[in-house]
Symmetry: C2
Subunit: 292 residues, 2 copies
Amino acid sequence: MDFTTQFNAFVAQADQALDKLLLPVSTRPARLHEAMRYSLQAGGKRLRPVLLLSAAELFRGKKHDPLPAGVAIECVHTYSLIHDDLPCMDNDDLRRGRPTAHKQFDEATALLAGDALLTYAFELLAQHYSAEPGFALVRELSDAAGSRRLIGGQMEDLLAEKKADATADQLEFIHLNKTAAMIDAALVMGGLTGGANETELATLRTFGRELGLTFQIVDDILDATADSATLGKTAGKDAKADKTTFVKLHGLDGARRYAREHTESALAALTNLSGDTAFLRRLVETMLVRKH
Amino acid sequence: MDFTTQFNAFVAQADQALDKLLLPVSTRPARLHEAMRYSLQAGGKRLRPVLLLSAAELFRGKKHDPLPAGVAIECVHTYSLIHDDLPCMDNDDLRRGRPTAHKQFDEATALLAGDALLTYAFELLAQHYSAEPGFALVRELSDAAGSRRLIGGQMEDLLAEKKADATADQLEFIHLNKTAAMIDAALVMGGLTGGANETELATLRTFGRELGLTFQIVDDILDATADSATLGKTAGKDAKADKTTFVKLHGLDGARRYAREHTESALAALTNLSGDTAFLRRLVETMLVRKH
């Protein structure tokens, strides 16, 4: 199967599981469950579930179904987007061309739908797994989504936006946590459902960290270089907001060099795994050259 | 030990554990961790941790330390208050005489501090317990805090506030979920750390449900009858807002009768437990006659 076909197959699996594992919109209170489903089915890339499913496939043991964990991590990702979009945060009206949750419903419903998706991620893990690997999945997800990682990165990003002179150290903290946390958690959670051992889990974590940093640096580069039509969203927002980015700190050439270095580190990590890593290798390379 | 001494001893244990188990305010990002601690240490009654600790004591097995679970449930309770107080929800400036989180910090920080406390509850369970009873604690907490219980009750409350003609059925849904969910979860989680069996856990759940309903009905009665000075908060708010309450639906006498009935059901449930239930019996009785 070629890369794109495989990627789309993972996305289809994830979408099907999402549809099945989400609570029906008739669940009381209906408005809350409508808002949860509206946001989850807004047509995201499903990068985190795809990473989780592909990591689970590396291990021939494949002891546990990775799909509920894939849905759980997408719930956490979606909750973070809903809360990010709220007026007191980024105040965005549109996401992927559709009204954001607080525009489609109202602020209170969006707030509660985000809260509910975060909580539902843990419900899913608790309902669909036995204590092993379920409890390890809870540990991984709660740590990655917590105040020192995902939410911490979000907070630091807010603090940094207020000063155009954010430091390289701040930027690294933001990228490692706001972006990379959920990416390395996806890989580790995939490994846990696939029966990976401690060494393999550590390798997946390193790979995820390098992949997450590549992803974020390329994002900064695209914002500075692409046009809005290619990007599918407003380009040049960072420079306009005088936001500190990799490009601002290191210049375009510097940012490109960093992106290549992290790509190489990611690929090097994969050589420590004995399973078939072709899909993940292609994913890293695709991410480096992506145009949107 | 008399009831009040015992109650205060549980509160002191919970407060000490909170102080110890919360992340230090120097944890990066400091502002986020300050806001988390500010809200948790705002001087609450600690009713949920007290219930959890007292339920754990009923079982002589006492296999696991109940304190981290007590802190976890207080984190969830506190997150729900922070989000409740936000401008898009109840828009409250004060809680227990102190500025609410979004007044003391700002809306974005309050939002994220709430998110972080919810997540931290699961981190605490994952860090401080082995898979047994940890995974069962996660299941209980995620279910009680989820879209069909705590958050569902909150959503239904918002929907009902818009219409003064909320039904008895809606009111029951709100009370069972917004109020009773965290109370019965506290008791069941205490039972889990104490090594209760399935039958005992079911009894604790019934007891919690009846206690939670008593608590909420008495709240409605006090709002209608007490003066603000005794209550320690603005009295008569419900009638002024034409909010549907037990008193509005059933009259004062009807509400008092319901409160007594739920108290009796709670006490009856306790007779199914073989441990020393004197403390919980006194707690129910105290709740029925409380003045604030």
